[in-house]
């Protein structure tokens, strides 16, 4: 597996590119901006961007879609359609997303937005704005906040403790760190 991280200029959101070493097919998680470093990386490593997985439709995770679609014509996968004005293949909890020999599983984590989705591979999860290092995504109501905490506990904290969490903003983390020390989950 090839993994690359891009810090975008759109509200300092993160994008992650994952590629299959065997087929050179790649997918991007979130697209807050179409940073020059993305195309440089894709071209330099002779990758084919097949899919863009959008965790949720906020501008700082989607503003780069126009440019990326125009250049690479990828399939858009999200928890909603349209997604930032683009037709998307809608995925639900438990669905599989495949690129090359890589297969990920969709985890529904509503709260920050009603259709928020994360993507899980065998040893990493892309959490978007559901879960951050030492924090969680902002919500508009107490019920949504509780829904988000429950989804994280049930779908993410049940994964192996060494599972890496790659977040929509700020640093990455692990299941063990967040389940034991995140102030929103521990007393």
């Amino acid at each position: 597996m090839i993994l690359a991280h891009f810090l975008t200029a759109s509200n300092e959101s993160n994008s992650f590119l994952v590629a299959c070493e065997a087929t050179r097919e790649a997918f991007l998680v979130d697209a807050g901006a179409f940073e020059p470093a993305m195309s440089e990386f894709i071209d330099a490593n002779r990758l084919t961007l097949k899919t863009i997985f959008i965790t949720h439709g906020h501008y700082d995770h989607t503003d780069g879609l126009d440019g990326l679609i125009a250049r690479y014509h990828p399939r858009i996968v999200a928890g909603q359609t349209p997604c930032a004005g683009h037709k998307a293949d809608v995925v639900r909890h438990g669905d599989t997303v495949s690129v090359g020999n890589l297969k990920g599983t969709v985890l529904a984590t509503p709260g920050h937005t009603p259709d928020m989705v994360c993507l899980h591979f065998d040893r990493m999860v892309f959490t978007g704005d559901a879960l951050f290092a030492g924090s969680v995504g902002g919500t508009s109501a107490a019920a949504a906040a509780q829904q988000q905490l429950d989804a994280i506990r049930n779908h993410i904290f049940t994964l192996p403790p060494e599972t890496e969490l790659h977040t929509g903003h700020g640093p990455s983390s692990t299941v063990a760190i967040e389940s034991q020390f995140n102030p929103f989950f521990v007393d």
Binding site: A4, L7, F41, F132, A133, G134, S135, S173, E178, Q180
Partner: protein
């Protein structure tokens, strides 16, 4: 780019040699024992060093950008002027370590143990030190803009001459020097 690979080394000396030759980027080095090693200036960016023993190691000016050092033992390590932007230091033990001048922007320090650790003139912009133990740590001159110290223990810490606005919600600020 990271293509994760186990760094082939038969023994500790071979491993240190490989790291000094620049083969540490993205290396899988979980649980490795590199205590008291001189690793000044080595590139360990994006390496997986979870639970590694780096006690007393010299990592001055090392590149640890995006490295995973969760639960690592970094007690008494020298990390002066090291790059740890986006590094995952959650639950690591940096007690009595020297991080003066280090780049810790956007680093994960959730649940870190950093008693008496020196962060003088360090950059902690947008870092996540929530629930960390920073008792008697020295942050003098550090940039703490947007750092989130939620529920951190900063008792007796030196926060004099820090710049920027940090989040200290529910933090223990007893005896802090400002």
């Amino acid at each position: 780019m990271t293509t994760f690979a186990q760094l082939a080394a038969n023994d500790r000396d071979s491993l240190i040699k490989a790291l000094r030759e620049g083969r540490g980027k993205g290396a899988l080095l979980c649980n490795v024992d590199l205590s008291e090693c001189d690793l000044q200036g080595v590139d360990l960016s994006e390496a997986r060093l979870s639970r590694a023993n780096l006690q007393g190691a010299n990592l001055t000016k090392a590149n640890l950008r995006g490295a995973f050092l969760d639960w690592a033992n970094l007690r008494n390590a020298s990390l002066t002027d090291a790059c740890m932007e986006f590094a995952v230091l959650g639950a690591a033990d940096l007690s009595d370590a020297d991080c003066s001048g280090a780049d810790l922007r956007r680093s994960n320090m959730v649940g870190i143990k950093a008693q008496r650790t020196l962060f003088r003139d360090a950059q902690l912009y947008y870092s996540r030190p929530g629930n960390g133990n920073f008792r008697e740590a020295d942050f003098s001159g550090a940039d703490v803009q947007r750092a989130i110290f939620r529920r951190a223990n900063l008792a007796g810490a030196n926060l004099s001459k820090t710049t920027g606005t940090a989040n200290f919600d529910q933090a223990n600020l007893e005896g802090v020097t400002r």
